[in-house]
């Protein structure tokens, strides 16, 4: 199957510009990047059909090979429709993001940054625990469960204490 250089060049250029726009902070440029990538893929699908052929309108006279390959055309049509619907949805997101926070930026996830900068001290693991030598609270403040936290004995368990 011979390769059409023009298509390849167009596709390459569209991909390059699309990716450049995609990695942008501004949401509008990201959406434009996505639209451009979708167009580039349509060109790729078209080129897989091989050569330029007659329009796929059947009539008995024409040999089967002369038509332009109808299957990639069906794929391209589906791809156009899907990229249209995704673009429409992204426009809704851009407007909503503008209404909510007056900015058209792709925002970073603040939870990630908070987790990455959290301190390693964790009360549950590292807090100092007083040693208690009994399970039963003295009768006067006995609430229903035996052995509430009562630091009575100061038995020095050598390695427990930090």
């Amino acid at each position: 199957m011979s390769i059409n250089i023009t298509f390849m060049v167009i596709m390459g250029a569209l991909y390059a510009c699309g990716i450049y726009l995609l990695l942008e902070r501004s949401l509008t440029r990201v959406v434009l990047g996505l639209a451009m990538l979708a167009n580039a893929t349509n060109i790729l699908l078209l080129s897989t059909g091989g050569f330029q052929g007659l329009a796929p309108l059947f009539n008995a006279g024409i040999a089967v090979e002369d038509y332009n390959d109808p299957l990639p055309q069906a794929f391209i049509l589906t791809s156009i429709v899907i990229s249209f619907s995704v673009t429409a949805f992204m426009l809704g997101i851009i407007y909503r993001s503008w209404v909510l926070s007056r900015q058209d930026e792709v925002q970073d996830d603040i939870e990630d940054r908070r987790v990455a900068s959290q301190s390693s001290f964790d009360a549950e693991d590292d807090a100092d625990v007083p040693e208690d030598t009994t399970e039963f609270t003295p009768p006067e403040e006995a609430e229903e469960a035996p052995g509430s936290l009562r630091a009575t004995g100061q038995s020095t368990r050598p390695e427990a204490k930090e």
Binding site: N4, S26, L32, M36, F58, Y67, L91, W98, G153
Partner: protein, 937 residues
Amino acid sequence: MIIPWIPDLRVELAFRMDTLAAVLSILILGVGSLVLFYCARYFRPGDAQMGAFGSQLLAFAAAMFGLVTADDLILLFIFWEITTVLSYLLIGYSAHRLSARRAALQALIVTTFGGLTMLVGMVLIGDAAGTLRISEILAMAPQLLERGAVIDVAIALMLVGAVSKSALLPFHFWLPAAMAAPTPVSAYLHAAAMVKAGIYLVARLAPGFSESAYWHGVVLVLGLATMLLGGWRALRQYDLKLILAYGTVSQLGFLTLVVGLGNREAAVAGLGLLLAHGFFKATLFLVVGIVDHQAGTRDIRKLSGIHRSAPKLFIVALIGAASMAGIPPLLGFVAKESVYETFVHYAEKQGTAGAAVLLAGVVIGSILTFAYSARFVWGGFATKANCQPTAFKRVPWSFLAAPGVLAAVTVIFGLWPKPLDAAIASYADLYPADGDPTHLALWHGFTTALLLTVITIGAGVLLFLQRNRVEAVQARFTAPLDAERSYRGIIGVLDDVAVWVTGRTQRGSLMFYLFVILSVAVVTPLFALIVRDAPLPSEFHAFDSPLQPVIGVGIILGALAAVRANKRFLAVLMVSVTGYGIALIFALQGAPDLALTQMLVETIVLVAFVLALRSLPARLWQREPAGHRLLRALLGIAFGATMVMIAMTAMASRVAEPISLAFPNLAYEVGGGENIVNVTLVDVRAWDTFGELSVLAMAATGVASLIFIRGRGDKRRRAEGVATGSVDRGREHFASSGRQEATLALARKFSSVSRDAWLVAGRTLAPERRSIIFEVVTRLLFHSVILFSIYLLLAGHNMPGGGFAGGLMAGLALTIRYLAGGRFELAEASPVSAGLLLGGGLGVAGLSAAVPLAFGGQVLQSAIIKFTWPVFGEIKFVTSTIFDIGVYLVVVGLVLDVLRSLGSEIDERSEGVSSDDEETVVPEPDVASREEEEVAR
């Protein structure tokens, strides 16, 4: 008794009861029922958690019973892990105490670590032996051992599980920490049952695998070291329960040592010691429970004079401690005597220095054991000089029953060990009978063993008397390496590594994620092409028709302009230039359907862009322009180049004929239509289009839900109620006496007419927004465009057109009317709400899919109906057109939804007259505060 559970993994519910299992079951069930009996008096009546506690304790007994009787390796592991989880729950009984929670988690993690290592060992052995049945594996143990390294490693891994469960040296720290559990739990789990599981595993594997490479190394060294360390630490404790805890650690080391020695005598002595330890340690723990319950503390510096206030308790405690110390008439002595005999014979037979060290170590260990037994009795019950006798409530009979029975058993079996010996003998038969078989007996005659016992007792008494000096020595000599601190260190390091790794990978920025994904998508195909050679593309042709390069240049220029544009609408325009260019390429390439659809889609996308972005600032300003400009350009170029290279390689490596050659004839004969692409879309591959419809419907709903937030906002407001010229009144304030002011006043005078000549709701628009020419053109065009779209729909089967093109055309018609007459014009133009259109379209498509099933066909099967009408003559109607109508409706619904939400709703919002309760526009600070975000979620 065998019930197959998962044949594919060779796992069955296989049980068998042999001597070893029976001996342990005695311990598990006997001590279990006594402990449960004891609990009735131990807990306060009103405790809410008692229900859960009781069921967990009984479930624990059942799990232990299952563990010892299981004959399938994996079944043993299942019960093993159930005991681990139940011990986690039991230790965490008083969950409000941090020490209990932390001890429970620590015990869970350490024992599960050991358990999982053991699991790997079990899988290795099961894989090597071909079966998971323990009895069969033990039967073919000798052949397995020849396999060499794999089996040795597997056995070593299983030993790690036993070591962690029975709290031997590296993993011993979880047992003393687990003393935070209620005392009955300590008595049962950490003395009689759970920690014995490791010993049981060693005893089960000893007959077959005691000769494996690492066996003696692990069992003997760790056992002895644990025994000595446990004994040494026990001497420093001031809490009665901790003395017993470290005592248990020491005894477990001792037990592993004996059971793991691997000869006939050791087996008998080991089981004897196992039983003895089970009885006396459970007794002592229960006694400590009573002391704690009655006196309110376990600190030996506060307890004094209890032997006088609870004499019966004192006697029971004395018996238990004496048995632990190995004082003659009791079972402890009987067991230790045969252990001494075993090690003496082992030392004589082996004759190596190692065996002698072993014997010496055991003796020293026993001395330490004697010392801390004495410390226990003295600490708990003696009257101390410097503190007054502690108040001690009377011990009711039912409370003392459980330890009493256990003490009695220790005495009876001490004086009369015959039945035990008979029971254990059959387990010992598993070993080859070498020389005189030893027996559990009270009196073995004057043997070196007896001499060793005398030495042990003497040194023990001496050690106890000099306890103050011993404590001074211990205080100076602090432990070099402390297991618990190293465990907590490991967990701390693990947390730090986790935070570090997550910090590196989860940057939170979309650009970083896309960067990683795209670079992986670029690198992997290149890697494939480098590693394996692929065909080099040979035939090329510059272009199919001369026009293509021209359009190509146009497209590339448009793309580059879009990249460099800093005005928002300029960028949008440039992208649509590339879109229209591609529509031209489609037309040239011989795809009329595509060209038509692409052009229509580009137009509507352009309109949608303008509608959505009109409320955003004109400039594509960024506070700080996205960095790594060069890097992004490099990645873009790399991606483009790679895609070109891959495409060329793929096209060059085509060998087979494409299936699409069959399409033309099939489409015409079977599909009954000349437009092959349309037949493909609505008939041959109708299932794809069927899927696409839902994508369209979802996009429409998505846009509506994002703009209207509260549902779809399908309510239509007709034009009558609206005052003329009131919509979208210009708020620009002109200079008061300027010319615009005059023209505006003049226009407003003429706009008072009640009914408009051209558009239904044209009058509602403010005069300065209206353009008469646009309204006249709309009036002329609208109906013809709608007719043309219906033509496209129906003719699509034979001529270029079809559902998509028709729907888009009708959508454009609606767009024109909206742009000409404003939102009320749109409301007038769309009699049906967008939701109804979408639902109707999907319904028509769905039904046209399901109905053929009723007629015996496949889903979405089309049929050709030929009939003749008087006027129109012979008509060929293909049922897939009904499906196409569904497509048409959905596409119109989508365009209507886009217009309604991006157009009318934003108009209303910008005029500030919106009826929906607009969400308060909160100018969010750059980094949303956690609280606010918490509420918003």
